[in-house]
């Protein structure tokens, strides 16, 4: 009864929420229900809900967790993401501190604009840039090696190089963007802290260590938590555009998302693909909850919720 009274009273306002609610329902909630595919023996003609249940019901997971390809993808995803998170934190906080120490406003602004630029282009374009650099015959980097008298490196056939390449590319694209939040944090620090510290004889370095870094801690914790929650998810666009279908590189570059994509669109192993997807969602959820709980213990204000 109460419900109807509220609708009668404020119906026109609620109506404004309908479009976004419908869109979220169709493209977020319906796929969430669709995760049951992971427990089914998927049959194209019968659809998600009509397909038979797998027998036993965890069969797809059994298959997934004994497949060497899937395990390799899971391992690569986690290791690469850990690398991305750690290096990312250092680069972003580092650049923010560097920029913050620079006195020339104009230089600071220009530098920020330039480092932010790579954020604007798509992974496909980044893929072209990378190819430009690393291509064997006339990539700029190999030309440089040749000029230096060193041997060229066939990057597109050497999986060993790719964790390093991917980390560098990731930083190239996102450092400027990631720095913004830290810079905002630094700008908002009351300058009297620094003045007081300077009077007490603290060097620039000590000021960074005892004022700047502690003030940035909450931002660092939140962003790291978010990243940890997504540790089983890779940036599909990045891997697809930079590495593409290059099986010679899969040893270090095949991640869960590219594995799922291949299973879905190429090899047609739908149940396997959705089992991996389901695993990603569950792990992400548990990790977000878990790391949030840890953050609450350490520093209440830094927790996400």
């Amino acid at each position: 009864m109460q419900f109807f009274r509220e609708i009668k009273l404020n119906g026109s306002v609620y109506a404004m929420f309908v479009p976004v609610a419908v869109l979220l329902f169709l493209f977020s909630y319906m796929p969430m229900a669709g995760v049951i595919i992971a427990f089914k023996d998927f049959d194209f003609t019968k659809g998600i809900f009509g397909s038979e249940w797998a027998n036993p019901i965890w069969n797809n997971f059994d298959y997934l967790l004994t497949s060497s390809q899937a395990l390799r993808a899971i391992r690569n995803t986690i290791l690469l993401n850990l690398l991305f998170i750690a290096v990312g934190l250092v680069f972003e906080v580092g650049l923010a501190l560097l920029l913050h120490e620079i006195r020339s406003k104009a230089f600071k602004r220009t530098a920020q604009s330039i480092t932010f630029l790579p954020f604007f282009i798509s992974w496909i374009v980044v893929g072209v840039f990378l190819y430009n650099l690393l291509q064997y015959d006339h990539g700029a980097f190999n030309e440089l090696l040749k000029w230096l008298g060193a041997d060229k490196i066939d990057f597109y056939n050497s999986p060993g190089w790719w964790p390093l390449i991917l980390v560098l590319i990731m930083r190239w694209k996102f450092t400027g963007y990631g720095t913004i939040l830290y810079l905002a944090g630094l700008v908002s620090i009351d300058s009297s802290y620094y003045e007081a510290a300077a009077i007490d004889g603290a060097s620039r370095w000590k000021q960074i260590r005892y004022i700047s870094l502690p003030m940035l801690k909450p931002t660092m914790i939140i962003l790291t938590l978010l990243a940890i929650g997504r540790i089983l998810n890779a940036d599909f666009g990045m891997f697809y555009a930079l590495v593409g279908d290059a099986p010679m590189l899969f040893a270090t570059t095949d991640v869960v998302d590219t594995f799922v994509y291949r299973s879905l669109r190429e090899t047609g192993d739908i149940s396997m693909a959705s089992a991996s997807g389901f695993l990603q969602s569950i792990v992400a959820f548990l990790l977000v909850l878990g790391s949030n709980a840890v953050a609450r213990k350490v520093d209440r204000d830094s927790a996400l919720f």
Binding site: E6, N10, V13, Y14, M16, F17, P19, V20, A21, L23, L24, L26, F27, S28, M30, P31, G34, L95, E101, I102, F107, T110, A111, Q112, I114, T115, F116, L117, F120, I121, S122, W123, I124, V125, G127, V128, F129, Y131, N132, L133, D137, H138, G139, A140, E143, W172, Y177, I180, L181, F236, V260, Y261, L264, A273, S276, G277, F278, Q280, S281, V288
Partner: protein
């Protein structure tokens, strides 16, 4: 003495940051240079920062040889424009509802949206929902709809709208304006900064998207720019075999396949780089608004 030391520090800082900046733009310069170089120079000397012999041949071949790059431009511009306007409307209306404190079910709606940020079904169920249940395939709608509703952007707008003083609402109410009228007449104009930010985020996402197209669009004439670029990059034959055969054949003998890849890349990023100086400050502001917790 002290100031002398400080200047050395400053000089070092400027040097380090300058080097980082140069590293950021070098790839852009190399692609532009590559697109203007002759094929022979690329083969002989590799990619360089400054073209040895300037030529527009790559651009000519690309634009003459393939109407498809122009089609793709059309698709991308259309999808970006329609998508951005609709997304702004839909998400800001939703955001507005979340700011009306008098609503009893406001928190339920907020949680409804929040859940979509925390969980997702993943690629496979998403694909089947789009294809089997919504029949979104090979249409402009398929390129626009899936990315339209966005809880994150909605929260960004809501956070901003919360800062608009309640008194304006009260007085509009007194003058007999309903919520819809208040929203369009007062709230939207007052929210311009955040709408600019979210609009730019959305436009950028639509312009750079190719994942949705990769999944849902098979028809060639509906493929957006980024996907065409990928095809060109991975398969230069595409250019040779399509479009105006007479013109192409004349040029094929000296077809600058590396140059064409670079030219296509430049064409794809062109508008973004031109827009960049104007929109960059909005982005920075917008990300900071987004940083506000809640």
């Amino acid at each position: 003495m002290a100031s002398k030391k400080m200047d050395v520090t400053q000089a070092c800082l400027l040097a380090i940051v300058s080097i980082l900046c140069i590293l950021c733009i070098i790839p852009f310069l190399m692609v532009i240079s590559g697109s203007l170089s002759t094929e022979k120079d690329i083969v002989d000397y590799g990619y360089t920062l400054i073209p040895k012999h300037l030529t527009l041949l790559s651009y000519k071949v690309l634009l003459l040889g393939s109407g498809r790059i122009l089609d793709a431009y059309g698709v991308t511009v259309l999808v970006t424009a329609i998508g951005t306007v609709l997304a702004l409307l839909v998400n800001s209306m939703g955001a507005y509802v979340l700011t009306r404190k008098a609503l009893k079910y406001r928190n339920i709606l907020s949680v409804y949206a929040l859940i979509t940020l925390l969980f997702n079904g993943g690629m496979v169920p998403w694909y089947f929902v789009c294809v089997n249940y919504l029949h979104l395939q090979d249409s402009l709608l398929a390129l626009i709809l899936p990315a339209l509703g966005n809880a994150f952007n909605m929260y960004l707008v809501r956070n901003y709208m919360l800062s608009v003083p309640e008194e304006i609402y009260e007085s509009a109410k007194m003058d007999g304006a309903g919520d819809l009228k208040y929203f369009f007449r007062f709230m939207l104009p007052l929210s311009k900064p955040v709408l600019a930010t979210v609009g730019l985020f959305t436009a950028l996402a639509y312009w750079n998207d190719w994942f949705i197209a990769l999944m849902l669009v098979n028809k060639q004439e509906l493929q957006p720019l980024q996907l065409i670029l990928r095809t060109i990059v991975s398969n230069i034959e595409f250019v040779k075999n399509s479009g105006n055969a007479m013109d192409i054949q004349r040029l094929t003998a000296q077809l600058p396949s590396e140059g064409i890849k670079m030219a296509a890349t430049v064409i794809t990023i062109g508008p973004i780089v031109f827009l960049y100086p104007f929109v960059q400050k909005y982005f920075v502001k917008g990300i900071m608004i987004g940083a506000v917790k809640g």
